[in-house]
């Protein structure tokens, strides 16, 4: 009886347990090696640092579920942050007004990715490689390469820096987004069709899925998430830099893969991605506390990406 129970464990659950075990292991490791890791202050800071990545990685979960990858998210995110900051600075209007604009910019950039890649029939990863430079360049052109600050006072920034029960407000937003996304991922027809495309694009076409349309919607969604991340980022930082967002795409992809999303499409889990992000951010935070230079942090990020994907391939080979 018990045996059957263990066997019944789904792939997703197995992955979740592994990620949780990973989080536990690194947490214990860092608690032992550094004095500051296991403190309340660090925990709260960690939570706040995770917000942006959580949102972007959640968006990436949808992209990976269709078997694609988007490496322009960091650039889209940063473009949105800077545009919103510039608009606030130059118009003097409330940033609340510009927040939807930021999300729209993200969605529009994503839509462009989607339209180009579906009309050319090329994988999104190649197209987004090109567009990431377009978006990053656009950011530089708009800002002139300078940081945008001095945005004045607004309830928008108060919200971003404020806390409820000691936890930064943006964290609640992020968790809310994750919860809604997870529910939507499981329940909605649209997401089921995303997964169907990722699992077997041909067969999904044969069951009436509008493959191209869904792929574009998917990219728009991703862009929208990047825009939302930008809004939260601006709310907390009240400033923007032209170099922000670099490397975010890599972290997001790593998190999705670590959380059980298959790079070949067809499976992805929002909660898993959350676990993946937590794991990565804890490792980054721990390395920083241990006084490791940025060199190690950079290298670790790259290593984690290759490692996560390679592990998945190996596991897949064994079971399938």
């Amino acid at each position: 009886m018990r045996y059957i129970r263990i066997r019944k464990l789904k792939k997703e659950e197995k992955n979740g347990i592994m990620v949780l075990a990973g989080i536990l292991a690194v947490s214990i490791l860092f608690s032992c090696t550094t004095a500051t890791f296991a403190t309340g202050a660090n925990f709260l800071r960690l939570l706040r640092q995770m917000v942006i990545m959580i949102i972007i990685a959640t968006g990436m979960t949808f992209v990976v579920s269709t078997g694609e990858m988007d490496i322009s998210v960091g650039a889209i995110y940063n473009l949105a942050v800077n545009v919103m900051a510039l608009l606030t600075l130059h118009t003097g209007l409330s940033p609340w007004l510009w927040a939807p604009v930021g999300i729209l910019i993200g969605a529009a950039c994503g839509g462009m990715n989607g339209v180009i890649s579906t009309s050319l029939g090329l994988p999104a990863i190649i197209i987004t490689l090109g567009t990431s430079y377009v978006y990053r360049g656009a950011t530089f052109v708009l800002t002139g390469g300078y940081s945008v600050g001095n945005l004045g006072k607004s309830t928008f920034f108060d919200f971003g820096t404020g806390a409820f029960l000691g936890v930064n407000n943006t964290v609640y937003v992020a968790l809310f987004v994750v919860a809604v996304s997870a529910w939507w991922m499981k329940r909605s027809v649209v997401c089921r069709e995303f997964l169907a495309i990722g699992s077997n694009a041909n067969a999904s076409r044969y069951t009436g899925v509008p493959v191209k349309g869904r792929k574009i919607q998917n990219e728009v969604l991703m862009g929208g998430f990047a825009g939302l991340a930008a809004v939260l980022s601006l709310a907390f930082m009240a400033s923007a830099t032209s170099e922000g967002g670099s490397g975010y795409e890599m972290l997001a992809i790593t998190a999705v893969v670590a959380g059980g999303g298959s790079t070949e499409g067809g499976s992805a889990s929002v909660w898993g991605t959350l676990g993946g992000i937590a794991l990565i951010m804890i490792i980054k935070n721990g390395l920083m506390l241990m006084g490791m230079s940025t060199a190690y942090q950079e290298a670790t990020e790259g290593f984690l990406l290759v490692f996560a994907i390679a592990m998945q391939r190996l596991m897949h080979k064994r079971t399938g």
Partner: protein, 855 residues
């Protein structure tokens, strides 16, 4: 004659408990044409694949010239003189005829490709075949028939002893078939033995010396052509007992459900009309490619018809997409479970729910309880053996998978059910269940359109069978027609002379971006004219002109742009970026991408600088160590990609970050300066003819690489691999080694770039190289090298990098910051890909029009 060239003794082959070939023993005589006949699934193709080394046989033995023969791959088979022309073409579509013919066995002289010899040999072979094939065109631009010839020529160029032709003329027209037969005769005179597989009896009887009949994977009999007849062969093929013992119970024929009127899809089917009633099974039958498959696709909205109409229950409908078809209560069970039928990793429930999504969902949300209920109901109803509906598809047997596929579509409650070969690859018991199911469905009043690869099945299950041949509906036979009768209709030879080009099945074949337009013009320009034209057709010229215009434009707008100092800056920048671009060109040709080049460059710089300052190493030794490091980093990229079968773009995305970390680790986040004076570091300041030594070195490397690109097996194989990796494997090209090799080359060139940069800057900073990868990728793409592989141009890359550097430099002069630069690179890269794709798509359309005209 008389001696045996190939002998088979008790050869067996099984695939997952299905015995495809059982105890086959017979022999083939030297110099004969030996035809193999049998129905679909009789084991002919499997046997041929065993002989050609695609599969290895499990038991028994084969002898060639009395020596034991058990090839482990097609390359070994070719080495022993056995060549096969596959049913599905395995050509490199972007390459010209000679590159295809000599793929994997290029003629070399002193290690270099002997272009002229190969071209001449190709021309001679094609001439011998009396074919007018343009040897300079990529094969994708040839007709299917011509491609088939290239495939045959490839097999012949090997000095084959045995040539296997697996339905070689299914894509040839009458005229070409005649040439093929002539060729076969010639070959036999030369002593080449031919094994010939065809469904067309008349041809078999015309060219074969002996015929071997196979049935159900077993050897039946070998007969001399002179002593047998078509009827005897068909009788042997069918066997005495029929395989399909099933009689349908009578069903009430109701009103007409679906009706098709004069449906035409040019090049596929012509003027097809049909109707199906409630409770009726309409069978469709024909040889592969005869058009009935297209009719199914039209009905289900997968292919648009050009004229004609479909009427469902008296109402005219239009199926633009499968979704439309589903709305009109049409369901199609596709023939290929793995490719188009099921999500094999998913559970039964999810698979069944997939077609129900839009039916049961409310407000865009999946109604899981209802789906589960329906799934369980159908799983029970169809007797699917499983623990629960949560089992994943891979755990099920083929028969049960098929039942789930049926359930998935029955659950949509269709009125018209299309079953495309519903019993393919499942065992006898499951087949019987499916027959009973079809019987039950018709009694319930479903209208069914059925196809099958087994004619028995069709005759047993259908009320009427429509027979297709070459895109036309040639005959309708009633229930109870015999198999022999049907075979005579669909495989017989009447009406042979019609419709050329009907068999064109492949679409969207990609042509090389080279822009070699179709030179179909009637007049012959002089040799010079031709050459000039050829030069102007090249895409590189377009890029060159663009570069010149940009250069002139900047010189006019900005006076200081042309100053000696600035030109020197441009040249240096171009020299360094150029090295990376050349490497990227090789990488692209192989179908890979290397994002890590800039970081490899930066890390190598830091490494060399560190060795020279802290390590006090001789600068030249440091250079050697640096180049080694860069190559190793490249090899790591390749190894990771090969070991985990990942795409290099993902791998290098990760390693890019790792190498940046490495670089930061080496320089500690600071610029390393204070390098020793002299040695290679003065290169940047040595001028020859007023131009820095750096530029000369880069140019020399360019020419060396150009030479390698054109003249070595390595780069030829890279191109072939990038074009069609699978076919490259079949031709015995070691793809894994090549992937690692090309990444190593890219790493090495980045290292060389690092040496030049270091000499230019005399210090190793932390930021150089950050956007080099993108510049290199952009330049290569602009220069006409395809991302995705198979075609590239070194000259194009040279001009491309010139254009990119000039623009980047000019933008600085115009007062635009680095933002414009990356904007520009991104936009040009995407634009270049756009143009590439547009050029690719054009010739295909033309070809289609051409075909229409011919009809």
């Amino acid at each position: 004659m008389g001696d045996k060239i190939l002998e088979m003794r008790n050869v067996c082959k099984s695939f997952h408990q299905v015995r495809a070939v059982r105890n086959v023993s017979f022999s083939i005589k030297r110099g004969e044409v030996h035809a193999i006949c049998g129905e679909n699934g009789a084991g002919k193709s499997t046997l041929m694949n065993l002989i050609a080394g695609v599969y290895r046989y499990d038991e028994g033995e084969m002898l060639i010239d009395g020596e034991s023969y058990r090839p482990k791959d097609p390359a070994e088979a070719r080495g022993r003189g056995v060549n096969i022309v596959f049913q599905e073409l395995s050509l490199f579509s972007l390459q010209t005829a000679d590159k295809n013919i000599f793929a994997g066995k290029e003629i070399t002289k002193a290690g270099l490709l002997a272009h002229r010899e190969m071209k001449e040999k190709t021309a001679r072979t094609l001439q011998e075949m009396e074919l007018a094939i343009d040897g300079d065109k990529p094969v994708a631009q040839l007709t299917i028939g011509q491609r088939q010839w290239i495939e045959i020529a490839r097999a012949l160029a090997d000095e084959a002893k045995i040539l296997i032709l697996d339905e070689p003329n299914s894509a040839l027209n009458m005229y070409e078939t005649e040439i093929l037969f002539g060729l076969i005769e010639e070959l036999t005179v030369k002593g080449i033995t031919i094994i010939y597989i065809s469904h067309r009896m008349d041809e078999v009887f015309r060219i074969a010396d002996r015929i071997t009949v196979m049935r159900d994977g077993s050897y039946i009999k070998t007969l001399e052509v002179k002593e047998t007849s078509v009827d005897e062969i068909i009788a042997l093929m069918l066997g005495k007992e029929t395989k399909c013992v099933f009689t349908r119970s009578a069903s009430e024929k109701g009103q007409v459900v679906a009706e098709g009127k004069n449906i035409t899809v040019s090049g596929k089917i012509e003027d097809i009309s049909f109707c199906v009633r409630q409770g009726e099974v309409l069978g469709l039958c024909g040889l592969a490619g005869s058009g009935y498959e297209t009719l199914l696709q039209v009905l289900f909205g997968l292919v648009r018809m050009e004229s004609g109409e479909i009427v469902m229950e008296g109402e005219r409908i239009e199926n633009r997409t499968p979704l439309d078809a589903m709305r009109h209560h049409i369901a199609m069970v596709p023939s290929d479970r793995r490719d188009t039928g099921l999500m094999t990793e998913w559970s039964i429930e999810k698979n069944i729910a997939q077609s129900l999504l839009r039916i049961t969902s409310r407000r865009g949300l999946i109604h899981r309880k209802e789906n589960r209920k329906i799934a369980e109901e159908y799983v029970r109803g169809l007797n699917v053996v499983c623990k629960s509906v949560e089992d994943s598809m891979v755990e099920l047997s083929g028969g049960n998978q098929q039942k789930v596929l049926l359930a998935k579509w029955l659950a949509t409650k269709p009125k018209l059910l299309i079953l495309d070969d519903p019993t393919r690859g499942i065992d006898v018991g499951a087949k019987q269940e499916i027959y009973q199911l079809i019987d039950k469905l018709t009694r319930q009043g479903f209208a069914v359109i059925l196809t099958s690869s087994e004619i028995d099945e069709l005759t047993a299950l259908s009320d009427r069978i429509m027979l297709f041949k070459k895109g036309r509906h040639i005959e309708t036979v009633q229930a109870g027609a015999s198999k022999g009768e049907i075979l005579k209709y669909i495989a017989g030879n009447e009406g042979e002379a019609q419709a050329r080009g009907i068999n064109i099945q492949e679409e969207g074949e990609k042509a090389c971006a080279g822009g070699e337009g179709r030179s179909g013009a009637g007049h012959e320009p002089g040799r010079w004219g031709k050459r000039v034209k050829a030069v102007f057709k090249k895409k590189e010229i377009g890029v060159l002109i663009a570069a010149v215009i940009v250069f002139l434009g900047f010189s006019m707008m900005v006076p200081s742009f042309l100053s000696g100092q600035n030109v020197a800056v441009i040249l240096k920048q171009m020299s360094i970026l150029g090295l990376l671009t050349y490497g990227m060109t090789f990488v692209f040709c192989a179908g890979e991408v290397d994002l890590s080049v800039g970081m490899v460059l930066n890390a190598t710089m830091a490494f060399m600088a560190l060795l020279m300052t802290k390590g006090d190493m001789n600068p030249w030794l440091a250079v050697a160590a640096g180049l080694l490091l860069a190559t190793v980093l490249g090899v790591i990229n390749g190894l990771l990609a090969v070991a985990f079968s990942l795409s290099t773009i993902v791998v290098t995305l990760g390693t890019m970050s790792i190498y940046r970390g490495l670089s930061l680790l080496l320089n500690g986040g600071r610029t390393i300066s204070g390098l020793p004076e002299g040695s290679f570091l003065i290169m940047a300041r040595v001028k020859i003819f007023g131009i820095s030594l750096i530029a000369w070195i880069s140019l020399a490397v360019f020419f060396l690489l150009l030479f390698i690109f054109k003249n070595t097996k390595f780069s030829r194989h890279l191109l072939l691999m990038g074009d069609n990796g699978q076919a490259a494997g079949k031709m015995g090209i070691k793809t894994n080694l090549l992937r690692i090799g090309v990444m190593a080359l890219s790493g090495f060139l980045s290292g060389l770039g690092a040496v030049l940069t270091l000499s230019n800057l005399t210090s190793a900073d932390t930021t150089t190289g950050a956007d080099y990868a993108m510049s290199a990728i952009g330049a290569a793409v602009i220069g006409g090298t395809k991302m995705g592989g198979g075609c590239g141009s070194m000259w194009g890359s040279l001009i491309g990098i010139a254009l990119v550097t000039v623009i980047q430099n000019g933008l600085v002069f115009l007062g635009m910051q680095s933002g414009w630069r990356s904007l520009f690179i991104g936009v040009t890269m995407i634009a270049a890909i756009f143009i590439d794709t547009a050029v690719e798509r054009r010739p295909v359309k033309k070809e289609k029009q051409l075909l229409n005209l011919q009809q």
